[in-house]
Structure formats: C-alpha cells, structure tokens
Symmetry: D2
Subunit: 348 residues, 4 copies
Amino acid sequence: MIIVMRPHSSDAELDAVTALIASLKLAAHVSKGQERTVVGVVGAADDKDTLLAQFSQLDGVESVVPISRSYKLVSKEGRQARSVVQVREGISFGGRTLAICAGPCSVESREQLETAAAGVARAGANLLRGGAFKPRTSPYAFQGLGEEGLKLLRDAADRNGLAVVTEVLDPRDVELVVRYADMLQIGARNMQNFTLLREVGQARHPALLKRGIAATIEEWLMAAEYVFAAGNHQVVLCERGIRSYDTQTRNLLDISAVPVLRALTHLPVIVDPSHGTGVRALVLPMSLAGVAAGADGLLVEVHPNPAAARSDGPQSLTVSNFADLMSRLAPVAAAVERSLPTPALAVR
Amino acid sequence: MIIVMRPHSSDAELDAVTALIASLKLAAHVSKGQERTVVGVVGAADDKDTLLAQFSQLDGVESVVPISRSYKLVSKEGRQARSVVQVREGISFGGRTLAICAGPCSVESREQLETAAAGVARAGANLLRGGAFKPRTSPYAFQGLGEEGLKLLRDAADRNGLAVVTEVLDPRDVELVVRYADMLQIGARNMQNFTLLREVGQARHPALLKRGIAATIEEWLMAAEYVFAAGNHQVVLCERGIRSYDTQTRNLLDISAVPVLRALTHLPVIVDPSHGTGVRALVLPMSLAGVAAGADGLLVEVHPNPAAARSDGPQSLTVSNFADLMSRLAPVAAAVERSLPTPALAVR
Amino acid sequence: MIIVMRPHSSDAELDAVTALIASLKLAAHVSKGQERTVVGVVGAADDKDTLLAQFSQLDGVESVVPISRSYKLVSKEGRQARSVVQVREGISFGGRTLAICAGPCSVESREQLETAAAGVARAGANLLRGGAFKPRTSPYAFQGLGEEGLKLLRDAADRNGLAVVTEVLDPRDVELVVRYADMLQIGARNMQNFTLLREVGQARHPALLKRGIAATIEEWLMAAEYVFAAGNHQVVLCERGIRSYDTQTRNLLDISAVPVLRALTHLPVIVDPSHGTGVRALVLPMSLAGVAAGADGLLVEVHPNPAAARSDGPQSLTVSNFADLMSRLAPVAAAVERSLPTPALAVR
Amino acid sequence: MIIVMRPHSSDAELDAVTALIASLKLAAHVSKGQERTVVGVVGAADDKDTLLAQFSQLDGVESVVPISRSYKLVSKEGRQARSVVQVREGISFGGRTLAICAGPCSVESREQLETAAAGVARAGANLLRGGAFKPRTSPYAFQGLGEEGLKLLRDAADRNGLAVVTEVLDPRDVELVVRYADMLQIGARNMQNFTLLREVGQARHPALLKRGIAATIEEWLMAAEYVFAAGNHQVVLCERGIRSYDTQTRNLLDISAVPVLRALTHLPVIVDPSHGTGVRALVLPMSLAGVAAGADGLLVEVHPNPAAARSDGPQSLTVSNFADLMSRLAPVAAAVERSLPTPALAVR
C-alpha cells in the first residue's frame, strides 16, 4: 500500500500517518518528492480494504494506492499452473479439449429436453445445460419446473452420455440441486449473492460462476475467492456479456475478459455467446471469436423449436444450427491448438 | 405490441404472424407502409416477454416493439395517487415531511451505535440505519455482527425514538430481521435476488429496495413488482448510484432517476448520497441536489469516528458533519415545499 | 510516479528501472516490501504520459502509478481562488449571481429568436443561447443558418440586453463567430477536437466547454488545459450529461460532476439540464438539483413553440415554462446563498 | 413511424395527431387497443428526426417509435452486395484477403519508420499505418511531425511496397494529407466532427472511419453516411474499443460489432486490437478473435522499440511480436475461409 500525501501537507499530518502504520505493526518508507510526499507501507494485513479506508481518511492524505491484490487463492501469483476442473470422468474444463455445454434455456418438458439433449450430444457437446429454477425479470414470466426439471435433466443427460450443469438460485436449494446435477451454475444476477456463494463453496461440487451484469474482473475474482475460501476449489468462470449503452445486442460480450483472466487467474474460463449477445445470428461468430481468444469452452442455448421457447428463444440455436456451429468451430479450435470433445456414445 | 416486418417480407411471412396472433386469441391490425408492413397486436397477455420473444423469431419479422409496460402494480397507470409508506406512527415515506435515515454502515459495538443514534436523532433523523449482515466484496472483510447487531440496533433506536431500517441478505434470515427491524432493506447486489424479493414480499414489513449497480429503471420497477406481487405493497425505492466509467466517484448517483420515477410509479423514492458517491465531501451537495429534485428522503452513513469504521469510512459523515448537513438541508427542503422531520424526543 | 515491480522480479530488472530513472536525471527511492518492491520517482517531467508508458514496459514492472496530476493551469493546486469569467459588464460566471443562458437549440428565424430572447430576458436570463452552426447526427437534418443565424443572435441579444453564447464547429469559423458572439461554445462532440480547442485558445474570447459524451473529468480538464495553454484563460465548464445504458433519458446528467470539479479546478461550472435529460419534464427538477449542488449557472433550451422546433423540441421549454422555472429556482438559489440575475432592461 | 398514445388520451388529442400527419401529406393508420391507441404513419420524410420530435411533443402522445432506419446509403437495405474498397492495385478491404495495416502509433524518425515498415512488410502487412498529426489528451504531449511525418510515411511505404493510411485531424489539412497518403483515417475523437467528415467526403480518397469512444453502431453508420452523402463511397469502418467501467483494459474491444455491422451495412469492417485493449499481451488473442468473428482486416501498432515510443508504447508490438502474430493468424484466417496478404516485394 502506498499513501500519497497532498501537496503542502504538514509534518504533523505525516507523523499521524506513520504513527498509525506503527500501531498496526507495519513498516513505513517515507519518500519526499518535489510536490508530494509518498509513504510506502510494508507488511501483511488481513482486511486490506478496511486498512485502505482508514488511511485514506487521515488529514493530509490525497490517495491510497493498493499494491497487492485482494484475491489470493484464485490468483496466478499463488499458483502458476492452470487449474483443470474435472466434472466427470472424461469431462473437464481447462485442458486441451474444450468443454461444450449446450441445451435449452429452460427445461420445459421431457420431450423438449430429450430432443435437445440427443441433438447436442450427437453434435459433440459434452455437458447438458438447462434451467429448472429460472431468474426472470418479471414475476409474471415462467419461473421453471423446479425439482421436476432437475429430474428431467438428469435423465436426458444420462441417456445421452452428458454431464449436467444447471443454475441454483436459492441457498436452500443447493443440496437438492447437488443431488441431480454434476455442476452448479451461479448466475450473473447472483454473482455477489454472498450467501449463495458460501453455500456453493461448502458443496464441493464443481461450480460455474457467471460474471455479474456490470462486474469488474476483480469483483468477479473476489466472488470466486468466496467459493474457494469456503472450501470449494473447483470453479470455472463464464463470461456472459456486460451492460453497455448500445441496444443492438442484449449485452456486450467482453471477449477480452478471456485473455485478461488467463493472465490473472489459474481458473478455466468459458464464454456464453447466447446471453452475451441475445441474438441468434451472432452466436456462431462470437463462439468462434471466444475460442480463438483462448476460451476453455462454450455455454450455448439450443432449443428444438426456439419460436416456442418459454424463455430466451431469440438467442437460442436450433439443433441443426448447433451442429453447424460445431462443424465451423472445429477448424478454429484446431488453429489455436484446441480440440472439440469426442461425441459421447449414447448410453441407451 | 407492434410487429415490424422486414422490407420485402413475403405475404406468407405476414400470414404466419397473423395466424400466431389469432391462435393466441388476440387481434391484429395490419398497416402497410412504403418500405415496411407493421402489425399491431391488440389484447392482453400475461407473460409479455415470452410473447415478444416468440414473434421476434418469426421469419420476416424485423423487430417487435412493446407498447404497454411490464410492471402493473407499481405503475402510475394503475394508481395515480402517490403512495405513502408508513413505517411507524409518525414516520413515513412519501408525505410532505422527508424521511431521513442515518447511521453507521456496519453495527460495530453498543457504544459506537449509541453515539451514532443519539447524534443523528438530535440532528433530526427519524430512522436509524446500520448493517448487521454485511455484503462485502472480499470474503476476508468484516461480515457484520448478525443477530447481536440487530439487538443493538433495536435498543439504540428505541432509546432515541428512531425506527430501524437494516439489510437482510439471506432469505432464511427474513423472519429474524423482521423481529428486530421496522423496515427491511434489500441491497443493490440483491435487487434481482428473486428468492429474497419473494420472501420479503411475504413479510408484510415495509421494504427499502435499492437500485442494482447497473439496473435500468424498468428492471428496478420489475423488482418492486415482485415484492408487490407476493403481497407486500409497502415498498420504497432508493437510488444509490450506478456503475460508470469515471473513477472520481465510487458510483454515479443518478439524480434524474428521482423525477423519472415520480412520472412512472406511485412509490416513494429516496437517495443514498453516501454509496452514491463514496466520498464524504460529496454527501452534502448531493443530499441537497436529491431533495431539490424531489426525493422523499435520504439514507446517509454517519459514524462517530469514520477513520476507525470497519466499512465505508471514507464516505461516512461524522455526527457533527451530519448536523451541518441537516441545517443546510432545511432551507432547500423549504424551497421545494418539503420539511424535515421534527427531532424525536429521546424516550429514555 | 511510483513504479511497482512484480512479485519475484529480479535484481537486474530493478537495476534497469533505476538506470532509466537516472538517465532521465530523476531520483529513485527504492522500498522493498514483503511481496513487491516499489520505486518512487522524484523530479519533474514535461510529458508524463510518455514517461509512464516507458516505465510500464520495462521487464519486471507490474504497474506504474502517476502521483501528480496532468493538468496544471486549470488545477486548484496552482490557483486556490475560484475564477470568475466575465463575459460582459455585469454578466459573469463564478460569482454569487448565477449565469442563466437560455434560448432555442437552433436559430430558425428572426421572429422565433426575438420571441425567445424577449421571453427569456423578461424571465431573468442574462445570456442568449442559440445555434447557428448545428452538429447533427444525420447529414439530412437541419444544419443551421450559419452567419445569418449569428446576425440574428446579435440583434436579438442587443435588443434584449443579453450576451450571446453560441457554438463554433469549424476552426475556420472561429474568427467569424467571435465577430458576433460574446462567448464561444465548444460542443460535447468536439471536446477533444484539439484543432478547435487550440483555435479557441487563441481567440481570447470567453469559452464554454461542454463535457464530451463519455469524457472522464480528467479528460475534460485536459481539454480545458488545451485552451489555457493556448493563452485563453476564460473557460467555463458545462456538464451536459454522459452516455449511460438506460433509455429513459437521452443522457445521464452527472450532477456530482459539479462538486467534484469544485474540488479539482478553479473554473466555473454550469449545468445543461436540457441535453442532460432530453425530456422537457425533467428540466425543472434537474435545474434545481444542479444549483443546489453548487453549479454557477444553467444552460437551458427555450423555444416559443417547441412542437415546431427544427431541433431538440422535446427537451425545449416554452417561454412560460422557463418563467416558471426561474420562479421555482429563486428560493433554491437563495437556500444555497446564490442569487438569480437581475432581469436586464430592454435596450430598445 | 408509429405513434403510441397514452392510456386515456382524448379524442381531441388523437385528432391533433392525425391532423398533423395529414398536414405533412402523410397517411395515418389508427389502431385502438385495450389500453392504448396506436397510430401508424405511412410515407417518406427527409428529416425523420425532426418529425419524430414533433409528434412526440403533442398532447396525449406517450412515445414515437421510428420504423425505418436513418442511414440509407450505407445500409444493406439499399445495397445487398458487400462493398470492396480498393486502396491501390492489389490492396483492398472487403475481399477474401484480409487487409493488414501495421506500423507505429506516431511517426518519430526516418530510421524508426523504415525499420517498422520493412519489418511489417516482411511479415505480411499490406498497409503502413503511422500518425503525423496526433490527437493527444495532454497539450504537453508529442503532437506529431506534421508534413515531415507524411513524407517519411510515403517514402517508407514506397520502399516496402505498402500503401499508407494516416490520420487527418484538421479539415484544413485534408488536401495536404491526400497528397501523401492512400487512405485517410478519421480518428475516434473525430467520429462526429462533421466538418471533417464532409471535407473527407469531398476528397474521394478511401477513408478509414474509427468508431467514437462511446458511439452507438447507429451513430457510427450515420457518420459514414455523412462521408457518403458528400460523395465519397469508399469507407471502411474500424472498431477500436469503447468506453467501459473496468480498468483492466484501456477500452473494451467490441468484437460483436463486427457481425452486427455485417448484418446492417455493406461496408468493410476491420478491428484495432491495439487501441482496443491498450495492452500488448492482448493484441494477439484479440486479433485472432476479430478475424474469427468475420473482420475484413486489422490495424495494429508495431514499433521497433516500444519502450522508447513517443506514444502508445505499452500497446505496441515489436516487429518480432508482429511476425509471430501473423504466423498465428494464418491458420485462424484459413479456418474462416480468409487469407493473409501475400508479402509485398520490396520495390527497392
């Protein structure tokens, strides 16, 4: 931490700063410049944010600059090797093979889900996505099938050799969702629902943590740190678009988050081009872009009949669109030395 | 809802649109322009979002424009008179008298809270704010005193003739918080925590709903609609700053949200200049601005010793700063025909 | 400037940093922390941005933190007293009396302008605004009357005892506009049109510099610094709303910019609630908010018949709306110890 | 255009709307819904923005929804085939072969430029970029070599078989820059400098139009429409990152703008990953992402010695970084059926 004193701050003000440093059992390095004096603080503190706040309020202090990062467990500083999060035998995030999660926004019926699951499995996905608990902007919109949806997911996935990733909204439902799913999704709206983060952190089930609608990269990593700090070290990050001012797309898919995260954290990172754009025609080019930029996988909405979907139809691919996406993705993946999953054998 | 067809869309595409309208038992008005054909859809639908999505995916459709609003219960269309939310005998939001909530960010100790409560009551606040459950970006930061904090709040408020407003984070804690508080705060990070919104909606305790960090006005009103739809009609909105690109302030306090909301909803609206700026020196001018723009009250952080605060010190006023704020606020309130609360008599 | 070395950076990397510092005839203070080494650089440099960039690229450097500000002439560090910009005898920005600029978006005709000018003068404005050169998003929209518009402005202002403020778009027109106007407006789209800034800087006519559509406060002050550096020290800043994600308003009027600027610069600051919101009904409350927050004046669009306006009608007040605004503004101004201009005597 | 009346608007208000429509010689289609009446306006108008504004102000009108687009000449509606902009024999934007523009941010010296030009030509670029007139945030920063820089660009490009693209800042300099350059760049800060757009529109030299720092796609296309409307139909768009709230990158490179634009306009689109990120390490992955998403080319900053660059060093590649980029780009380009330019023969 570096403390920058205002121009013309007094000696007494500087003394108060160094006294506070000493009282915290930290060391101070004072350096006087032409206009300003700068004080370096050396030593470790648990709650850096509080410390920063304290110093920033002393008289004569212009600003306090943090030097070390607030996240530790998820930082590359602590662990150089990239993490591989294994969801099931043969299905993992962060290796050479991409993880491809596909399926409908909402689980609507056995038939809808089975058609979607069979279709995406055939095209090469290795995880089935689908919402049983749906966060909806309107209280009047379809809120999901609940446990019935979880059962349908488990069945359809098993029949088609897929793993299940699905969202949990309520901390009281974590135990229930763990019973059916292979991976717990924390949605964008809940990225800073710390109650839920802690609950998922205790679940020891792999977690897919989506970026909040206007979260900074650092806030996102701090949310992952919550899950780690509670004991769960199997976290995958998912970029899903952030809020911006243009109405051409539903969100602004921040592809640069992928290489930025690869420099800051050892966690795997995937991209959701469906929510990231909200527009079906953009899902293909943005999927290619995400993988070209280094993403470890994709999360794609696929519906047997998007026009009849109960949620997110306009951004959903048909099964045939998805098969096309996979065939266009293969050479791009190869160009960046990644490969697509081997289509799962139907277990039936 | 208005459906805009693409230039050169075919008759068959138009027929498919009108057929879907008919199948939903709605009426269609077709109007052919020079470049585009436009179809008006007449009739009521419960789940408008899904409907919009369905039409937008039909072949030949360029865009679908919603006409009526998604929120109903909180809309001024349904209820012209402005709501007054009464928290306790003599303490309400939305009348001529402003509601002034003040107190520390976090409840830290009996002594800290008592000093704050006595100070803000003396200066004219009528509600005591203070966090017993704290949402913190870092898992290593102080997370609040929990139920012990609630007890301290209740005691300090009672001794000083104040009502208590405090945040609830976990849906499982709503019952607990209701026992101690007069008003339940839903924080910015939880504005779309629909589980929590529904739980608070069932509580029948007045709710203070803060705007999400990047929420649109419409999303915010939809969140209030969740609380209403679950049965709780005592909702106050709180503008607390939104995310922007400049680092001079912690958030960008959107003062224009106050008059915008007054045109769209009958709910009371207050302003939080502390989180809205993150800078102590800005709390006074932005408080004056908020009230001048028509706010029904303020939510202000006040700490006996901000430099020692365990959270949000840099944006906290001292008790004496707050007294100064109130005396500067009085003539501005009068200028817009509002008045400050009468200082509560200490009950002690 | 402070240089933060990466954790585990080598001695050789540190040596390269201190060698570059020495070669620039600056002094280095090295301070070794537990995880990182930090180097303070002491001494003055003309082109700080380039210097920052150079150090940030050296091997082993994690980040470079600037300490002193890039703007000097407009900074409060250089000049504590607030500037008063006098436009004409009795008309100035930055004193106790507010400066009220009002008039139509575009000059359209002699009759339109005369009605507007007479109306706003009667209601208490002291400057007449109106565009003769209009920056329009569409090449097919009305682009202004040019020199003819300038003449109409001068005449209407003179007849009604007002000063003229009008926008200049083209550096080649500065001389022309100076001939007719009392104050040169640099519009939001041209805030970083450095060619124009320099030309206005040489004009020695007071300048009104609007904030760019997504400019940081610091970029804005740097733009003012361009005008100062070219020799023109009569600059007034105008907050006019920035880009945000909500479509309820045309722009997001950043009222907090007013007190932020008062802390950073000695320049006067006014607020434009017309462009800042784009909605007529919001102009009044946001005018009150701006003045309550400490603005030195307002820039308001007023049109005799907004429904017939060739630009910005929806945000224009009628003459009678404006008179109402002024009468509602008076007590708010008094509440913050400011006063409205004395209505000018018609010179006729 | 569709006019939405407020709920409970009166018949007289509706009559006033239809009367205005009739007076403009347009046709009205009135459609009464359950809550609101909607009026479709049929017919063509030159200045749609003014018309929209007029209707939106009539009593009883809730909102006015534009149906047709404001841009015409650059729209795909007018011209289905994608434009190819040919800069010189064998060098074009919009064909199967990508256009690769590379070179230093600023032209600094003959030696610097020659090394850069030779290096990028060898690695496969076909246009040399470099600034002779530099728009700099600070008036104290290096502002470019002016005409001397243009000469150096021309010479270095000729010696290495490259075309020249360089920025013009001042409308008075267009003629001068045309003399030396093959393509005129309009920078992000000048995207709505309409004076400059018109001047470049008269130049009949290919133009590279960068996106404004916070421009919507529609505003950007309207800026291109200015150049078209002035007679110049050789316009290439360049996505260079927009303003966002995260400080990890200098700007937020909006890769989705590429496929969005391909759906709206026939103009070629390229990507600038250097300004788009501001971070050298991100230039490679974002270049791959841009091409994977369908970009017609790249604009990349390359400097022989970035640490000594007078501008933008931290985002500049070395010549060897750039050669690496080109070799990594080749397989990605092939995967999306594009090819890199054939390295130019040195003319020397």
